[in-house]
């Protein structure tokens, strides 16, 4: 296997030509996005440098508490991000369901994936635990965000139909079946679509990274397939838990809809 080309500082700096080109284009076209482009490029650079040093420290100081601490921080940020991304206000019970679904969905698939599929040893090895947790949590966060938005929007938009269904004797589950199914569908669809295009339309980031770092493409592919299935499982468990429990928060104990005008 060829040795990896180590990027020198000037080589990394040369890549910023693309940012300069983009800034030039938006300036010429009069699109006022210079500030956002500069902020996002700077944030990306600083965040990645920081995370590089943090990961380096964690990989050299293997300790279960460090690994668990990182997972907790990732979960907290992901849950907070879901709350922030959703337009409008989320009720407290719905927030609890989001947090519960994220924790249970991602952690159960992560533990299964690492211990039953990959067989890592020790169980808290951060070299596997952290990047794989990042992929499962990140994809589940995107999925559940889409599901939350769809569920909340439809519960408000279709409240008259839900109430009519309740008046006709439907249970909350029957009255919201279509809405819950649509929320699940919109949450899981990006993951399914990304699997369809994988390998033909694009090469996934993890696989590309492994190939660039000198690992055989066959090994990289087998990891990629396994991780995609892990992501699918994690997103599916997270989202199904969320929609199955989430719709109930829109009803009171008397099974009345509590969505306001």
């Amino acid at each position: 296997m060829d040795s990896v080309i180590e990027l020198q500082l000037w080589q990394m700096a040369a890549a910023y030509i693309f940012v300069v080109a983009l800034l030039f284009i938006v300036r010429i076209r009069g699109i006022s996005r210079e500030k956002e482009i500069l902020i996002s490029s700077t944030r990306m650079t600083v965040q990645l440098i920081l995370v590089g040093y943090i990961l380096d420290y964690l990989f050299n100081n293997i300790n279960p508490l460090n690994t668990i601490g990182v997972i907790v921080v990732m979960e907290v940020f992901a849950i907070h991000n879901i709350y922030k991304r959703t337009k409008g206000t989320l009720s407290k019970p719905l927030k609890k369901i989001i947090a519960l679904s994220m924790m249970f969905g991602t952690l159960s698939s992560l533990i299964y994936f690492l211990l039953a599929v990959i067989h890592i040893s020790p169980w808290y090895d951060p070299r596997y635990f952290i990047p794989i947790a990042g992929m499962l949590i990140g994809n589940s966060m995107t999925g559940i965000s889409l599901g939350v938005t769809r569920l909340v929007d439809d519960m408000y938009a279709e409240r008259h139909l839900i109430e009519s269904a309740l008046m006709l004797g439907a249970t909350p589950k029957m009255a919201t079946k279509q809405i819950v199914d649509n929320a699940f569908d919109s949450a899981i669809l990006p993951t399914i679509n990304s699997m369809v295009g994988m390998g033909i339309i694009f090469l996934p980031g993890m696989m590309t990274g492994q190939i660039l770092s000198g690992i055989s493409p066959v090994t990289a592919v087998s990891y990629q397939i396994a991780i995609m299935l892990g992501i699918l499982g994690s997103v599916a468990i997270t989202v199904i838990l969320f929609v199955q429990l989430g719709y109930k928060t829109f009803f009171n104990e008397e099974k009345q809809l509590v969505v306001n005008e």
Binding site: E163, S164, A165, M167, L168, G169, A170, A175
Partner: protein, 135 residues
């Protein structure tokens, strides 16, 4: 008990879908096409079962919703101004039909209405509310 609001919702689909959905929700046996047509006749709506329910006029939608609750055959039927989108003559005919239908089957019909004429003519018991108080 089933309630029909003043502005009932019409579900996506045909008149038939809308008539059957109440039975599905109440987990009751589905009605035949003949029974569905009878229910439409009872509310004086002469439309094909296959017609798109969302394209009906306000009054026609109200009649589909009435036929839907009648089909579900509840012990107590609570109607909130069920004929507000209908003209006076049709209103009278439909209320009379509903009252006869409920009496024959021994069901209770509770109806909120602004029409004293309708209330006087068809009710066994009348409660008048003014400024939020029973008078």
């Amino acid at each position: 008990m089933t309630m029909l609001p003043q502005t009932p919702a019409i579900f996506h689909g045909s008149i038939k879908d809308n008539l059957l959905i109440g039975l599905k929700f109440a987990e009751k046996p589905l009605a035949s096409d003949n029974q569905l047509c009878d229910a439409l006749k009872r509310v004086k709506l002469n439309k094909a079962l296959s017609q798109d329910a969302e394209k009906l006029s306000g009054g026609e939608k109200q009649r589909v919703a009435l036929a839907r609750v009648v089909l579900s055959n509840p012990e107590v039927l609570l109607l909130d101004e069920p004929s507000s989108a209908l003209d006076e003559d049709t209103e009278h005919i439909i209320i009379e039909e509903l009252v006869n239908y409920s009496q024959k089957r021994g069901k209770t019909l509770i109806m909120a209405t602004h029409s004293k004429k309708i209330a006087n003519q068809f009710s066994d018991q009348m409660i008048e509310i003014k400024d939020g108080k029973i008078i």
